[in-house]
Amino acid sequence: MFLAIKEMRYAKLRYGLIIGMMLLIAYVVFMLSGLARGLAEEFKKGVEDWQAQEIILSQEANKTLTASQLTMDDFDQITANQKAPIGIYNGAIKGTEQNVTVFGTTEKAFLLPTLIKGTRFKQNNEIIIPENLAKDGYHIGDTIKIGSYPEALTIVGITSENYYTVTPVIYTNLETWTQLKFGDQPLNNQPINAVITKENTQLPSTNEKMTSLTTPELIENIPGYSAQNLTLDAMIYFLFVVATAVVGIFMYVITLQKTAIFGVMKAQGIRNSFLANSLIAQAFIVGVIGVGLAILLAFGTSLVLPDAMPFAIIWSQWALYSGLLISVAIIGGLFSIRTVTKVDPITAIGG
């Protein structure tokens, strides 16, 4: 550590550059992570907040909520300590370009998000909206129109931030939802998309059209969700490789420039292990300082990002990435150890 620190102090510019490279790479890692998680969060929050034990869809729905078709008859056949029907409709608020997800359920459904203002919907054409939508200038008592449904919907309650597939989540009752989705079409049986349950769920053995999923399974199958995460994660993983290479190459070049002095030190009887430790210590310091600064920078950036760029900091993930980045910096340093051990102390004498 002694040699490592003293040398870095002496060659500030040189090590400043490596730390700068490390900082930039780590910054991109943290930004990508933040943006990926932010986006993922907006994809799945609405569903995750249900805290469901099981989500029951129709068999042929291919695990996709919107593709699932059930009825209230199916709902009645399911037993569970707590259960709620869910209907999903994607529409846009009239007069704006705001897309929304409308979930229809019962007034007493366990999955309804906690209100921070107002009351739950009690009658038809009453809705509750999330804070992220209210921010656009909607208040309790205001009315909006969604899609081609002619009647005005009254906002009666506001929940905390809520998203599903990156659109704000509105809750209403099943009747209103049915009107939104199907209009005045005659329906024999109240349609729903899914049944959400909690504790001791049992599907009827006689009804084979239903299948049940866990919340993570459902989220994984939201169209686009896995592909998007995989892409962003792949970029992050690739950056670990880049970090290894950059630190490795820089350290190697610096090591080559120092072979003469390594020769002298080895002639004086300083062991290989002492010199190798100093090299590793340098890579470690480069990693720690670079990652530390990158976290500060990424955190600072997250404070000024526009709302259109959702950013979520998962500290446990950042800690993991920090550890990985510091490890790959050290791995980069390891490449040069062979060069150090290969320096023959004999080069120090004569010439």
């Binding site: 002639a267 062991r271 004999i346």
Partner: protein, 227 residues
């Protein structure tokens, strides 16, 4: 006086068959405690080979070397490194200082390697006696050639080695400073009772040595004392 460096029938050859070169031929050589020995010879005479073998940087093809009673020839590189560190102080041509350490840190490095805890009283008096105490906070690049060699001498002495090996220590100095450095080496050898071997090609630098050897075609020939 104790024998510090003993060489018995040292032979060093490079290559095999037609390309075989004998750098050292049957060298028998002893340096005692407190003795300042100069070895002079043209380049290519085997001086450097001699020095690297006495310093344990390479092994002889045959023969035996003892440093302060310990056999060098049979040790592996790690053990030889430790023995070098303990028993030998090197003073090299240009400088044996680490460029990115301040003068006083050159000595901290030694302490770090040995994991030795000690205050600076011994170091300070060593630096004062070599007249370089005021240079403590300077980097080697900010020192003159003469100052650098003084620091190098201090660095070599700091470990209290039994043997000092100086490889052309005056090569990068003007005559005046070169004399200063050689005289300092002789003084330290006598005062601190260090066996010192100086290898040089400069005839002017050897006149105050206790013994003088000529290296010629791989053989050491002692010069009769002239004074």
């Amino acid at each position: 006086m104790k024998d510090i460096l003993v060489m018995k029938n040292i032979v060093k050859t490079f290559g095999t068959g037609h390309t075989k070169v004998t750098a050292l031929k049957e060298i028998n050589f002893t340096v005692k405690q407190g003795e300042f020995v100069s070895i002079i010879g043209p380049s290519g005479s085997g001086k450097s080979t001699f020095l690297t073998i006495s310093g344990g940087l390479q092994t002889a093809t045959s023969g035996e070397i003892l440093i302060n009673g310990q056999t060098f020839s049979t040790l592996n590189e790690k053990k030889r490194a430790d023995l070098r560190f303990k028993e030998i102080g090197f003073i090299l041509q240009s400088s044996n200082l680490v460029p990115f350490l301040k003068v006083h840190e050159q000595f901290t490095l030694v302490k770090k390697v040995t994991k030795r805890k000690e205050d600076n009283t011994r170091l300070d008096s060593l630096l004062r006696s070599l007249d370089i105490y005021d240079l403590k906070e300077k980097y080697p690049r900010d020192l003159s050639g003469g100052e650098r060699q003084r620091v190098a001498i201090a660095r070599a002495l700091y470990n209290e080695p039994s043997l000092i090996l100086a490889d052309e220590p005056t090569a990068s100095l003007d005559t005046e400073h070169a004399y200063d450095v050689v005289n300092l080496l002789i003084k330290e050898a006598h005062e601190k009772q260090k066996a010192t071997i100086m290898v040089t090609h400069d005839e002017r630098m050897i006149q105050h040595s206790d013994r003088i050897f000529h290296m010629q075609d791989g053989q050491l020939v002692e010069k009769p004392f002239q004074q």
